[in-house]
């Protein structure tokens, strides 16, 4: 069973990793380095720090988007080309397919994070580059799992991409939205719509990943590697990732493929 999962993982990965992807990663690496250097040139003081944080943030968002598109495209191909019918006619369980996709996400996330470890040492010490590399890797795993859930249940590529990006942005914005709502309580507490939105966003806070699941750019300004923060992020991603994985499994098991 294990060797079947690995074989399926290798097959799925071969559809994702190719020369074009490697060229794109090289392009992202160069863009990160050059734009960071450019921003450094513009700053009068703290130029290295600003260049470092800018490159880190730029790489994070480029790679996240790249991850979402790659994973969603790969799984959507299985729908479009009728791969599921073929795969499920073989002695492979649905759980094995989902676990193979998990392995693809873990591997792709690692490969996609390579531009971080290549570009960051231009601006920061190597341990700090490793810290950001791991932090972005964890974030890529989380968004990869989000995308897997989205494409498995929604089946359509554009809808899945929009859903994943929206869920990601909402997760990042929830703390700010809640704090804005808390500040407005004195003015709008009597309004039903306000109370409803306050309730809704408070609820979402528990359903979506916490802010500790994401790479913290602010920490880079300390120039000290915060391993505690990384451990906290790993734990958050592990818990939320597990939740997403099993929701994906439930959804996938309930799907009917013999149209």
């Amino acid at each position: 069973m294990f060797s079947q999962t690995i074989a399926l993982f290798r097959y799925l990965l071969s559809g994702l990793i190719n020369t074009r992807l490697l060229i794109l990663l090289l392009g992202i690496t160069l863009t990160g380095i050059l734009s960071g250097q450019y921003i450094s040139e513009l700053a009068i003081i703290n130029s290295k720090l600003i260049g470092l944080a800018f490159t880190a943030e730029l790489l994070r968002y480029c790679l996240l988007f790249f991850m979402v598109v790659s994973i969603a495209y790969r799984i959507s191909q299985d729908y479009e080309l009728g791969q599921f019918d073929r795969l499920l006619s073989m002695p492979i369980t649905r759980a094995q397919y989902v676990f193979s996709q998990l392995l693809v996400i873990l591997t792709a996330g690692f490969i996609f994070s390579i531009p971080v470890i290549v570009s960051m040492p231009f601006f920061a010490s190597f341990p700090l580059a490793v810290y950001w590399f791991l932090s972005v890797y964890l974030e890529l795993i989380l968004i990869g799992l989000f995308t897997m859930l989205a494409i498995l249940s929604l089946e359509k590529l554009p809808v899945a991409i929009i859903f994943s990006v929206a869920a990601y942005l909402l997760s990042r914005l929830i703390p700010q939205i809640n704090s804005a709502l808390e500040q407005s309580v004195d003015y709008y507490s009597d309004e039903v719509t306000f109370r409803f939105s306050e309730y809704l966003f408070k609820l979402l806070q528990y359903v979506l990943p916490t802010s500790s699941s994401f790479a913290q750019n602010n920490i880079l300004f300390e120039l000290v590697v915060n391993w505690e923060n990384l451990i906290e992020q790993s734990l958050s991603v592990f818990i939320y990732g597990g939740f997403l994985l099993f929701i994906s499994l439930i959804d996938f098991y309930r799907k009917e493929f013999n149209h």
């Binding site: 921003i39 513009l42 009068i44 003081i45 703290n46 944080a53 703390p175 804005a180 750019n217 602010n218």
Partner: protein, 242 residues
Amino acid sequence: MRNNSYRSVKQVPLLILCMAVFFMLLQLELSIKQKENNKYSFQQLTKPQNVDFYRMISLGSNRLMSYLLAIGLQLHDNQKGKHVSYSRLDYDFLSQWLRTVYLLNPDSEYPAFLASRVYSQVKEKNKVRLMIQQIELMFESNPQKFWRRMTEACLLAKHQLKDLDLALNLAKQISSLPQSIKMPFWARDMKLILLDELDQNESAALLIVSLLQSGQIIDTDEKRFLEFRLSKIKQKMSEFGQ
């Protein structure tokens, strides 16, 4: 060799000729408009959004956002490749921008640096006063971080505003800080420097040398900036035989 003989223009359908002329006229119109747009026109600073707005769109990276806003502000005086005098900027909006950048990242020295070393270099006294007010606000919220900027504000008040009372008042705010706030003795005795009969160049040079020797400036960019300023001041002093 092939004989390239052409038929008369009359053979071309009228519609095609008209269309060619029409597109040529459009091209001319477009070129003229683009040329007009490329002419230099100064764009004034606009009011910044609420600090919460920037905090929200930064998605948790508010420190980076504050630096990017500061750089964007700093680049506003370069429009279409030309440097615009700071005097033309709306200093009320500029103050609001500096405040927003500061509130977004209270650990950043960038807004205070821009206020004391960049935007204070104008002749209009009310504009310099606004910059001093900004420095004062930042100093009030974090004296340990901004006492250096406050000493610079003292010199601005004395030499650029010629307002010794304001300068002494600012110096008093520094000297009245509790001993728990660590700073060199000369900063606490800023009053003496102000009452001394030093001119603008001498006091600026004295302040920069003291700052550099205090070991409080860690950022290499700022060190380089101050050394450059010091060499310029020394050059000026030697030109005037001081």
